[in-house]
Assembly symmetry: C2
Amino acid sequence: MASSSLNEALHRLMHAYKWRLRANIRRHQIALPITHIRVLKGVGRLPDCTARVIVQRMGQDKSRVTRVLNDLVQEGLVERSDNPEDRRSQLLAPTDAGVEMLEKVSVLEGEAAACLTEGLDADELDTFLRIAATMTTNAMGHTTEPHRSHKHG
Amino acid sequence: MASSSLNEALHRLMHAYKWRLRANIRRHQIALPITHIRVLKGVGRLPDCTARVIVQRMGQDKSRVTRVLNDLVQEGLVERSDNPEDRRSQLLAPTDAGVEMLEKVSVLEGEAAACLTEGLDADELDTFLRIAATMTTNAMGHTTEPHRSHKHG
DNA sequence: CTCACTTGGTTGCTTATGTCCACTATATAG
DNA sequence: CTATATAGTGGACATAAGCAACCAAGTGAG
């Protein structure tokens, strides 16, 4: 039946996709885990990027983002600078090495996407993306919200 | 660019789906992690199930499956029995408690699937499943094989 | 039969990922 | 100023995944 199919299909797809990504990362000799790559991408793409922005865009835990960011700074791929508008936060930007890395990553992801979409036409891909987005929204938005920072009223 | 969209869409979908599943698991007071549930499902569904079968079906690491199975046996949800056809392996079957758990799980997954597919018609869902399956195959089958399971050539 | 090799399973170790909680410092509302 | 919300950090822990070494049992070749 459909429900069970969907669950299994998603699990399989997740696993396969991650597997493919990892394989590509290896082939390209990139020493970064997937999450780090995603965060780096965020930093590179978003203009006035702060940790908060990353957290919101990726739906990840704050502390996780902090740690990943620490790693990226450590590796010289990202730089923090004071945020003139809020002294609690810092602006994030990729270093030259970070930009270089981002180019590699772009290639890598392009390859992964090309691999996955082999045999699919643009129309199908489009449909898939649309449905995936719908499912994502459905999954997130239902019962209680994912993370409403603590409140006590 | 489509490739970037696909990558991000998959990441988001993965995250959202897992999140939804976890929320449902909590609601149903089931004390099993996702992987354990999947393995239990496999054991329940496949007739002459061994660890090897699970490994192949789920594409998971052998060691992981072993450990999960140990947990499930520990919790009294699965039983091992000697495999008359191969003394290296054991046949796996759910206990009564396991069957009971499987029923709960079935409900839970049904709910998750229902949540995800809200607003999608059967046709769209079907398309999604087909494309997801294609992508999974594409992702797995490309460069080097993960493990060439049993021989066929 | 023995020998080499394969296969099913187990264990140890390491990394990656995700979540919860507590805490600091700053911002902002009343 | 006080109370509370927000941005970020770090600790602790649970889950997930992978790799390598290993044992025991099967299998095929000689």
